[in-house]
Symmetry: C2
Subunit: 210 residues, 2 copies
Amino acid sequence: MPIIDISVPLSNSLVVWPSDPPLHIERRRFLEKDGANVSQLDMGVHSGTHVDPPLHFVPGGATVDQLPLDVLIGPADVVEFPVEESITASDLEARSIPKDCRRLLLRTRNSLYWVRGDTEFHTDYVGITADAASWIVERGIRLVGIDYLSIEPYKTPGHPVHKRLLEAGVVVLETIDLSAVQPGRYDLICLPLHIAGGDGSPARAVLVSH
Amino acid sequence: MPIIDISVPLSNSLVVWPSDPPLHIERRRFLEKDGANVSQLDMGVHSGTHVDPPLHFVPGGATVDQLPLDVLIGPADVVEFPVEESITASDLEARSIPKDCRRLLLRTRNSLYWVRGDTEFHTDYVGITADAASWIVERGIRLVGIDYLSIEPYKTPGHPVHKRLLEAGVVVLETIDLSAVQPGRYDLICLPLHIAGGDGSPARAVLVSH
């Protein structure tokens, strides 16, 4: 059972969203002195590989601990989009995504940032347009993932992409590294932490080959 | 596919190990004012449901991102131990644990703390003895989980339980809630965060019914 880790490593050099809390990991207790190594992790819950539940953008929306586990676990299609700008509904339409696709992972040029170990924030990453978000909702897709910090192009006024997806209850998985993944169908296991009432959570996400 | 969540909810009232960093979750950005809800999570990496890799107690030991994913995912046996004190090797011997068991989850009276939503730290939780740790290693078990903050009885001098398990590369899963789980075989999915060089990590752990 080959398992591919699509989570980015959490470290103090990992790029986070500009307005988000900093990511900081530091050892607080030491084996020699204190009997055990114990580190502290401080981070925004939308840093690193993470999921957005509705509450991130929908007033009173479902929280991360309310996301259905059977959406977070199951068959997923990795589809490549060799586009420079945002992925549109017609880009999605053109890729012959399987009709029974319920979890869609978008592989773009963003994945190269992870290969390079890039520690800078880029504003020109590939996201999706609002009509692509509508296409995803209308196709009955329950989870969509992308290989940069946001599925929405930088500074899109009014956040129509997040709102469209999250209002429809589509789980958004962001900051995955698909550079080592060939397009095709896999079993996705995406487990966010069990944060009570959380508006997001860091997650570990892996793909199991069929 | 019924999925049982055995992770405890992370919240500001969750009990953590007395000498560990505090667990604190707070919203930093607000939908109405800032356009999105974004929380910050500060915690010790051994708080909540979490895994211990060798580095927690072994100098130069493997880190949490080096744990093999195929140990964290796979068949697991939930076995009940209605003991008052620590679980011993003879307790393990007496329970007819399947010979092919590679992942063992110990259900004890500790799980009642989670049912009660107990926010106090208890020193008299059920752990395992050093001879039980040796039994686990000798049986070829690769992962062992228990339903309180530590698998080792409180203040055991020299930490022989952790050392024995971690030196043998057995993954230790702590602070799981097995109160809703009947003894038997399940598929365990236990995914810690991908913390580079981490001495531990919070994890989400679920059981899938066979």
